[in-house]
Symmetry: C2
């Protein structure tokens, strides 16, 4: 099993925004970085711009076989299929990690089918942008952000330490550890619910004629309404139960506010606003 | 009736964040600015920091009587009471304007009780911050923002022109005109609904333990959850019918998304996400 040293060779599988940002950050730290992506133009771009040292637009056994650490930045289903087909090319002892946004639906599946001489340690870099592709990658997105290592009982302490070390190399502000279940409950609330809200706000009425009047609040609430529908629908469905719970919590609370407004309950509204203000102030202090 | 020239004297009634920002912007342009606020410390602060030329912590007839243009930056109810008690001190021909966030509930009331030799032209500067008081005022909040003039049939063309001129002096990016009813429908959707959503998201569960994991999306959606409960509950109730309509539109759409998730309708979810992405891209292009 690896721990990171100056000769550690990284392989990025899936060279999009996130994979490309990993590659840039690791290259800046002096590591050797190879990449595999089905999109030839992504590999060409990354080679021409010195983002990677080597690359292939197919599962090249040479690239796979020389990796010490492989980072999967693929959609969940593709990730699982890739492992099934190509894990045979890894050298014994290679450490696998990922950037997938939900965990219970993928971690146990990957660990269940992985060769016994490989180890997969899940991680979730909570960073991103509303643009796609290696062409928009930027290692700056990790600054100030959270990196979560998501181990299961199958993981070794050494793999957990290595995953945290990767988070540090990438420049994340906070590195923490959650179980897959804790992770998915948290992400259902903080990320998926917020995206559902942004989408619903953007689609609930034909609001083209209002574009001239949008202030900061509408812009803030809909920034994340530009969403990769293929990726996010897959993530929502993989985390269906947790997300449904969070959506119900929110819808119930929203409905209470509506009732207070309907009944002209100024005290009730003010009480909610004070709680909201107090909680948000507490969040601000924490950050 | 006034039009603005270099000797125009402004009076700000209510020297909080918005009144203070008006004062700073107008002073920078070289105008004479006086202010009235019941909070003596606000007046003292503004005088000491050169934000106003004169001020009083009571409805000083001298200050009121010398104003060419008076800007009301008060809560709606206080604004209406103030006019009832103190309009007698204005010189004939003084132009009154305001910054109130809702219009139908206040404009007709003020215009209905105003002396016939005064004119009130409503305006809404769509700018703000999550902090309060003249101590936090900042004329920079107007840059890039919208300023809406909200005339009724009682207003003269000259007053409408003057109100727009004020918006230009303050540095607003876009100046437009809406009827009180159009304004309140728009503000119900773009501003009040978004604040309801932010409050409900912040209060729907005790989420203290999640503070370490908040990423940009949760922060974006709850920035406006720090809310002045006295002011916003008053604004919500004044715009009750329009806001209820907007809340129902949003809740219905959110519920459709939930149903799609429950029924594992990936195509339906992706269709909503594509619409949301397309609309938001269109908004981005417009701004």
């Amino acid at each position: 099993m690896n721990e990171i040293h100056k000769n550690t060779k990284f392989l990025i599988v899936g060279l999009g925004l996130m994979g490309g940002s990993y590659a840039k950050a690791l290259k800046k730290q002096g590591y050797s970085v190879a990449a595999i992506d089905t999109r030839k133009s992504a590999i060409d771009y990354a080679l021409e711009n010195g983002i990677i040292d080597a690359g292939a637009d197919f599962p090249d056994p040479d690239r796979i076989g020389e990796a010490d650490i492989a980072v999967f930045a693929l959609y969940p289903k593709v990730f699982s299929e890739w492992i099934g087909e190509n894990q045979r090319f890894f050298r014994p002892g290679t450490l696998l990690t990922d950037v997938t946004g939900v965990k219970t639906g993928i971690v146990y599946e990957i660990q269940g089918k992985l060769r016994s001489d490989l180890e997969f340690i899940a991680a979730h870099p909570m960073a991103g942008r509303e643009v796609y592709g290696v062409e928009n990658s930027d290692e700056g997105i990790f600054r100030g952000a959270n990196y979560i290592v998501v181990p299961t009982e199958k993981n070794t302490d050494r793999a957990i330490r290595t995953a945290k070390e990767i988070g540090e190399l990438l420049g994340f502000a906070r590195i923490s550890e959650l179980s897959p279940e804790e992770h998915d409950e948290m992400i259902g609330f903080l990320s998926q619910l917020t995206h559902c809200i942004a989408v619903a706000l953007m689609t609930c009425s034909d609001n083209h004629h209002l574009a001239d009047y949008t202030g900061d609040s509408f812009r803030d609430l809909t920034r994340i309404a530009r969403i990769n529908d293929a990726m996010w629908s897959e993530l929502f469905l993989m985390n269906r139960e947790a997300l449904l719970r969070q959506m119900d919590l929110f819808a119930g609370e929203f409905s209470s506010l509506r009732k207070m407004l309907e009944e002209r309950d100024a005290d009730g509204l003010r009480e909610k606003m004070r709680l909201s203000t107090e909680r948000r102030a507490w969040f601000d202090k924490k950050s």
